[in-house]
Amino acid sequence: MDRILEVNNLTKSFDQGKNYALKDVSFHIDRGHICAVVGESGSGKTTLIRLISGLENPDYGEIILNNNTVSSLKKVVQPEKRNIGMVFQEYALFPHLSVMDNVLYGLNKSKNKKERALEVIQLVGLADFEKRYPHELSGGQQQRVALARALAPNPSLLILDEPFSNLDAMMRHQLRNEVFNIIKKTGVTAIFVTHDTQDALAVADEILILQNGQLVQKDEASKLYNKPQSIYVASLFGNTVQLNKGLKKAFRCPLKEDCCHAIRNENITINASDCEYVTEAIILKRTFLGTHSQLLLKLENGENLTVVTNEAVLGDTLKIGFNSKDVLQFDE
């Protein structure tokens, strides 16, 4: 498979090297893939895509798009010459132009621009809205106009910056599926930034994890989930309990002391004695959270542990445990 995008040692600092927004990031994306960039806020996600689109110049490293070097220490190709499509977090529709004119905006050079514009407007399901202005549309509709506008010039790479963060939870899931169905249909290579790991797991072919400006892991969704390379990556995808010395002792599990181990909350079994590692616990506090409840436990050896469960827990004591196959092991 050929590579659409290749990024080598990409580095960017906004204060002359005191702090790094992005530090030595290298990766590549194959044609037709959808890649998610995940990380906490401030981890460098937005800087990465602004560098790829050419809105910022890198301090070091290079970006190769379609086998052409577009950013390096020697030159930077301007954003308007990169053939990239971008959907911004706040959509960035041109407020004084109609839907049709917004979509036509990037089609200056093509011949059948009217037809192409109508085609993409139809593709995103806004066929009767082309004369409307952005302020006359709902959030979801504006999102789709932004997508149509970005897709119209047939970009070689489509970038989406937090595409669903401005929408409420209900809209979000529906629109996520719609948007990525459309993207899949067009076959365009896409890279999207999100802080919601559910979005990433649901639609991405591969996921890139950023922490403090550094790339910590890049893998397929299932691999990332089952074999996270650090506790940071593991905890991005759900409640994770790090197994410190005291916890290892309480559960009497023979894990190496010098390795870092963790267990996902959903793999901790409550009221069960058929696990490999089991211990008794006293419930110190229960917090009711609707479908499930949070328990603060005191283990046999005095160690505290917080778990979330959807099982009914009666009485003041219980047995909890987990199996060795579910233990996550990290190198550091």
């Binding site: 040692n9 020697k74 308007e80 529709l93």
Partner: protein, 552 residues
């Protein structure tokens, strides 16, 4: 991930240089060129200092300089008192209390800004003179022929203070409206009384905003020429005029200008310093409790109404009544074809110069955005410092280089007479330097309101900087450009010292005309051109304030 160890390397000198060369584009060059173009007057004054002062410099330092300093300090001190007192308290009263006519007074308090200091000075000199309106008002009380002598520092401070206090009022009110009321509620819930809360909490918190307004006042005070000259008070600006015109010693004028400039820069640095030390901004919450203004008993409400009306009466009503009285008496003499022709010239010059100023502000704003070198981007902010430089200093700084440029042109045989100095070119150039900031600020704030991802997405969709500007930013900036244009237009119409020094011989403006009558002992005749200026300045004061209220 494999670490290449590029991080230390990436900020090595070699890489920095390479990046500098990569990021240097034509916009960087243009930005620097515009900045130099704006800086020429200041640079000129700086280099001319090395030529040494003129013959009278010693006389001035021995006898006059201490006078200039003393007067400027005294003037600044009294104006600070007057503007603080009338600006802050009126702002607090209109935001905190409910009383009759409050909504009208809220914007009427801005209106004194429409009257330039020198016109205020003419009007008050007449008002308190023998047989003036003041003594006429007192005559029923048996007090005859009373004269209040205005021709001194105290009188000058009064007229300047009363015409400039709206700067403090506007910035204090903006702070009170957006920030103070939430804090005040919290303070009162903690059991602190209203008055105590004001002095312990609101006033200290509002200090940066109030000082920012005050610095504008002081800059205008240092800039004033017409009022100080008419009242016979020696200040730096009148000194510059005297050395330039009476003593004909440009070197001395340059030395005085440099001194005045240093005072202004100290002011700017102090203002920046106090702002940095007190970054008191509380997060904006959507609703303030403006709707819950305090309603005192009716007699007390009347007292508040009178208190707040006072600055309006002193700063607008009285001078306008005086001017109108004079205008009626001199109408047949002054109101003729010449005056209309004069107004036309005045408006024409202001129009052309305002267009150029807005254009240069736009160019500076966008060229520096399009340039990719951050240090040049931040340096572009220096371009707006022209507003801090007193008009007389800008004029001297423009006069000197244009004069030598013209002389060289004639020497080289490129021209047979002066083509820059003493023509509209030099005048318009000086206006651009002085008023660039006035245009830059509204443009910058309205361009900040356009989400930066909008022009970004235009570029990603294949449009260059210029196409993006004309297709996307220009239509969205129209309102900002209009208000920038109006503000500059009015400032140029009112401008006196710079115009006096640089205007072409055969051309006159309304301000120069009014000044001319006043210095020829015909101050009554100055009333009609003065009223023309005030009327024109009034329109945007009202319109802009309506806009402010809508947005605020």
């Amino acid at each position: 991930m494999k670490q290449v160890g590029s991080n230390k390397e990436s900020f090595s000198l070699k890489n920095r240089l390479q990046r500098g060369i990569r990021d240097l584009n034509k916009w960087t060059v243009f930005t620097v060129l515009i900045l130099l173009f704006i800086a020429v007057p200041v640079i000129t004054i700086f280099f001319k200092l090395f030529d040494g002062p003129g013959e009278s410099w010693e006389h001035i330092t021995n006898y006059l300089l201490i006078d200039y300093l003393k007067n400027s300090l005294y003037l600044s001190f009294l104006c600070t008192l007057i503007t603080l007192f009338s600006g802050v308290f009126s702002a607090w009263i209109v935001t905190r209390f409910e009383f009759p006519l409050r909504t009208y007074l809220e914007w009427l308090l801005i209106i004194p800004l429409a009257i330039p200091g020198y016109i205020m000075a003419y009007a008050y000199a007449g008002f308190f003179d023998y047989g003036g309106i003041f003594s006429w008002l007192l005559s029923p009380l048996g007090i005859e022929n009373l004269k209040l002598d205005m021709m001194n520092v105290v009188g000058l401070s009064f007229v300047l203070g009363i015409s400039l206090f709206p700067y403090v009022y506007v910035s204090a009110r903006a702070f009170f409206l957006t920030q103070a009321l939430n804090l005040l509620e919290a303070s009162r819930l903690l059991g602190v009384s209203e008055t105590k809360s004001f002095f312990k909490l609101v006033f200290p918190l509002a200090r940066p905003a109030i000082v920012a307004g005050l610095v504008l006042v002081l800059m205008e005070v240092l800039n004033d020429y017409g009022a100080a000259e008419y009242y016979g008070v020696n200040t730096f600006t009148t000194g510059i005029f005297r050395s330039w015109f009476s003593l004909e010693e440009p070197e001395t004028a340059i030395y005085l200008s440099a001194l005045l400039l240093s005072i202004v820069f100290v002011l700017i640095i102090l203002e920046k310093y106090q702002r940095r030390k007190m970054q008191y901004t509380t997060p904006k919450s959507g609703k303030t409790s403006i709707d819950h203004r305090i309603k005192l008993s009716y007699p007390k409400q009347i007292v508040l109404c009178v208190l707040v009306s006072l600055p309006v009466i002193l700063g607008f009503v009285i001078p306008v009544i005086q001017l109108v009285q004079w205008a009626v008496r001199t109408f047949n003499e002054v109101f003729n074809k010449d005056l209309l022709w004069l107004s036309l010239q005045s408006f024409g010059i202001a129009f052309v110069a305002a267009c150029f100023t807005v254009l240069f502000a736009l160019l500076l704003l966008y060229f520096s955005k399009w340039n990719k070198i951050y240090s040049v981007q931040s340096a572009s902010k220096l371009g707006v410092l022209g507003y801090a430089i007193p008009g007389a200093v800008v004029a001297i700084g423009v006069m000197v280089p244009t004069l030598s440029l013209d002389k060289s042109f004639i020497e080289w045989g490129w021209a047979s007479k002066f083509i820059i100095n003493g023509t509209l070119i030099a005048l318009v150039y000086a206006y651009v330097v002085r008023f660039l900031a006035v245009a830059y600020q509204p443009l910058e704030s309205s361009s900040l309101k356009v989400n930066s991802s909008i022009p970004d997405s235009s570029k990603i969709l294949g449009m260059g900087n210029f196409k993006t500007f004309f297709k996307i930013e220009f239509p969205l900036l129209k309102a900002g450009m209009l208000s920038a244009f109006i503000l500059v237009f009015i400032d140029i119409l009112k401008e006196l010292p710079l115009t006096l020094i640089l205007k072409p011989y055969h051309i006159n403006t309304l301000a120069v005309n009014a000044y001319g009558y006043a210095s020829d002992e015909m101050v009554m005749h100055a009333s009609i051109p003065s009223l023309f200026i005030i009327l024109t300045a009034l329109i945007p004061v009202i319109v802009l304030n309506k806009l402010l209220l809508k947005n605020g």
